[in-house]
């Protein structure tokens, strides 16, 4: 097959009008989880996908990884359309909310998994595992059983495992949501530092705006399967594109801390209702 050259100079991820449907059969169209989303992530950039649960952000992430088929639109990387490229050949890493460490392998062999698949020699593999474990603050853990790890340690191992094969894009699906608040805040900083240190391009899915602002260079706010606004954190806070975005960021014109909390709760209640307008 010939390589189809993309637009010159285009690097990073390009999602165009992506549609993801669930439960579609010949007779029923199924429900739409992602409804025509377009998003660009430049090389080395970290973009957060921010939205309430059920807004389709995880579905979008899985479609980029190749785990869900696209019902419409396209996903390309470095100008190369990825339609028909199976998950294991995309060179994208994925970090699940609950880590999904292999229970039958110890910490070191979990981290080494992707390297084994690439056929990296044993000595080189061991060195890289040690280096990555040190990077995530778990030096010397290689021989430990994954069952003995705490929640935070598990996610650090999962991060090291995802980074080991040097993915050209790392997808993180609410990687910190299962952890308690203090750990989450600390790990969010660690994750950003690690991603920046390794120069990894990343899409970070979260429903927590503080976390999104901590980790990401740009934040994409998503609701009901559509993108509402994509901007740097300070732009987003200064000029939200509509009341929905402001609501979700916990912003209201001239609101003090108390009102802000109230609005947040109202916002959450709205999301349970039907027929929310997209801005």
């Amino acid at each position: 097959m010939e390589r189809t050259p993309g637009p010159a100079g285009l690097t990073g991820l390009a999602v165009r009008d992506a549609v993801v449907r669930y439960g579609a059969t010949r007779r029923r169209p199924g429900s739409v989880a992602v409804d025509g989303v377009s998003l660009d992530v430049a090389a080395g950039e970290i973009v957060a996908l921010l939205g309430p649960s059920g807004c389709g952000k995880s579905s979008l992430l899985r479609a980029v990884a190749g785990l869900e088929p696209l019902a419409g639109g396209s996903v390309a990387f470095d100008g190369e359309d990825l339609a028909g490229v199976p998950v294991h050949r995309r060179g994208f890493g994925l970090l699940f909310q609950d880590g999904q460490l292999f229970p039958h392998r110890d910490v070191g062999r979990n981290v080494a998994y992707g390297l084994e698949a690439q056929g990296v020699p044993r000595a080189e593999r061991a060195a890289r595992v040690a280096e990555l474990l040190a990077d995530v603050g778990l030096a010397g853990y290689a021989g430990r059983s994954v069952a003995t790890l705490s929640g935070g340690e598990k996610q650090r191992v999962a991060l090291a495992r995802a980074l080991a094969p040097r993915p050209r894009l790392l997808l993180l699906d609410e990687p910190l949501s299962a952890l308690d608040r203090r750990l989450r805040e600390r790990l969010a900083v660690d994750v950003r530092d690690t991603l920046k240190a390794t120069g990894t391009t990343a899409v970070f899915v979260t429903h927590d705006h503080d976390e999104a602002f901590t980790v990401a260079d740009r934040v994409a706010v998503m609701d009901a399967g559509r993108l509402l606004q994509v901007a740097a954190p300070d732009v987003l806070l200064r000029a939200p594109a509509g009341p929905r975005v402001a609501e979700f960021l916990g912003l209201a014109p001239g609101a003090d801390e108390l009102v802000r909390t109230d609005r947040e709760q109202v916002g959450l209640r709205d999301e349970d209702g039907v027929g929310t307008t997209t801005g």
């Binding site: 097959m1 390589r3 690097t11 059969t25 090389a43 990884a65 785990l67 088929p69 990387f77 470095d78 190369e80 990825l82 028909g84 490229v85 199976p86 998950v87 294991h88 050949r89 995309r90 060179g91 994208f92 890493g93 994925l94 699940f96 999904q100 292999f102 229970p103 039958h104 998994y113 992707g114 084994e116 698949a117 690439q118 056929g119 495992r161 995802a162 080991a164 094969p165 040097r166 993915p167 050209r168 997808l171």
Partner: protein
Amino acid sequence: MDDHGRGLTPARARASARPGRWGAWLGWGAAVALPLGFLAVFFAWPVVSLVLQGFFRETAAGPALDLSGFAEVLSQDRTWRIVGQTLAQALAGTALAVLLGLPGAYVLYRCRFPGRTLVRGLVTVPFVLPSVVVGVAFRALFAPGGLLGWAHLEESFAGIVLALVFFNYAVVVRTVGGLWERLDPRAEQAARALGATPWRAFRTVTLPALGPAIASAAAVVFLFCATAFGVVLVLGGLRYGTIETEIWTRTTQFLDLRSAAVLSVLQLVVVTGALVVSSRARARRERALHLTSDRVSAHRLRWRSAADLLPALATLVVVAGLLVLPMAGLVTRSLRAPDGSWGLDNYVALGTTGGRNALSVTVWEALGNSLRTAAWAALVAVVVGGLVALVVSRRPRRAGLRRGVGVLDAVFMLPLGVSAVTVGFGFLITLDRPLGLDVDLRTSGALVPIAQAVVAIPLVVRTMLPVLRAIDPRLREAAATLGAAPGRVLRTVDGPLGARSLGLAIGFAFAVSLGEFGATAFLARPDTATLPVVVYRLIGRPGAENYGMALAASVVLALLTATVMMVAERLRGDRPGGEF
């Protein structure tokens, strides 16, 4: 980007995407085709040929439809007496097994007490015991001079039902117990807090939740009881039989293949009904599982409370009286020499071919035959059953494929329902020229392990499937995003995690094959007789010497299967797997 040193450029990735997809289709296609081919040749073809014997008659102009065989068989009083006995035995056996099994499930899965693991193991042993051994054990118990000789249960309806319950008690205890163990106790506690008595809370909250598991267990037990062969053949004498033993009698004694074929059709009708009920119940149970928690909730056995004391006593009586007594009786009786003295004479005689040369081989040689055929049978069953379990454990995205997977699952449960006698009988009439090839499989000795494998495959599938299904699909997704191709995912994720069930599956298949009697009895030649066949032959021959040898051989066979099963259970550890 490429300074990261990635192995794959997108261009290469794209170019190699298509061959990879073809490989996947090819691999899954083979994984479906091999078991289906095996089932078609060694199950569907023999059974269908046999059934057609009942409908067609060979004439000069070729086969002609002829239903007179049906009219003839169905107009006989004997046929309806046998059908009535089959249903009555199966219904009584099922009702009693469920009634006794419920308290057993509660005590062994909802309470904690020292020695519980041992009792659970003990309860499981009868299920894998060869049916011939069970028949011999109960016969020794009921015979005049036996431990229960005073009850006059020899060749009686009650005697057969007791033996059936002995077999199937474990099915109820394990199926219901497995669900009960994981039932959230807070629902019952809520009912108690609302003022319900313990009995009322059990009746209105717990029992309905257990309903699907009870129905599923009852359907399986009914199936086993309705197709019981060896145990009825040994215990029923001339007065009691099932459709299964009748097929055997008409084939081997009267050489009446036609009416035997008609009876096989009748048997299929009964069994299909039970299978339909069973699959409905299983589907409901899989839905019911959502009501349960991952946590196992059990409390210490409270002897003071009637809610614990009564089930505990019931279980004690069943385990001691119904499970241990026959086995202990068998062992004791086997130590009694033909001259009435105590000693190992019967075991010494296992090196001979029996009084007046009742056998063509010594019992030890038969043991060798058994081990050899069972090993081959287990190998075939685990390969075929493992592939089926692997395919069925997948949830394809396309609805059509998903339905196909469901059909495959159901198709491979069929051998569980179709009687082993029918399979063995079908082998005899079809495999003299398999697929038109000029090799008579009937004399090659390969048929016995293959027939045993056919019988063991559903058990292998049911053992491995829940374990493979329990693997989180996201583990496979994680492996794929780390660059593992589908084959590598299978090898590094499904392989190691599924291997835990492999030990149990192999042990199960081996134990079942060791004790298989229905099909083997048809197919084994005198010089390749297996242990169960030898036991049956010995018990049918006159002479205290032969009877003593049958008892000793039964003990050896029982010890062997029980040991295999205990080792396999050990390999599994404490995690739930399998349905039996």
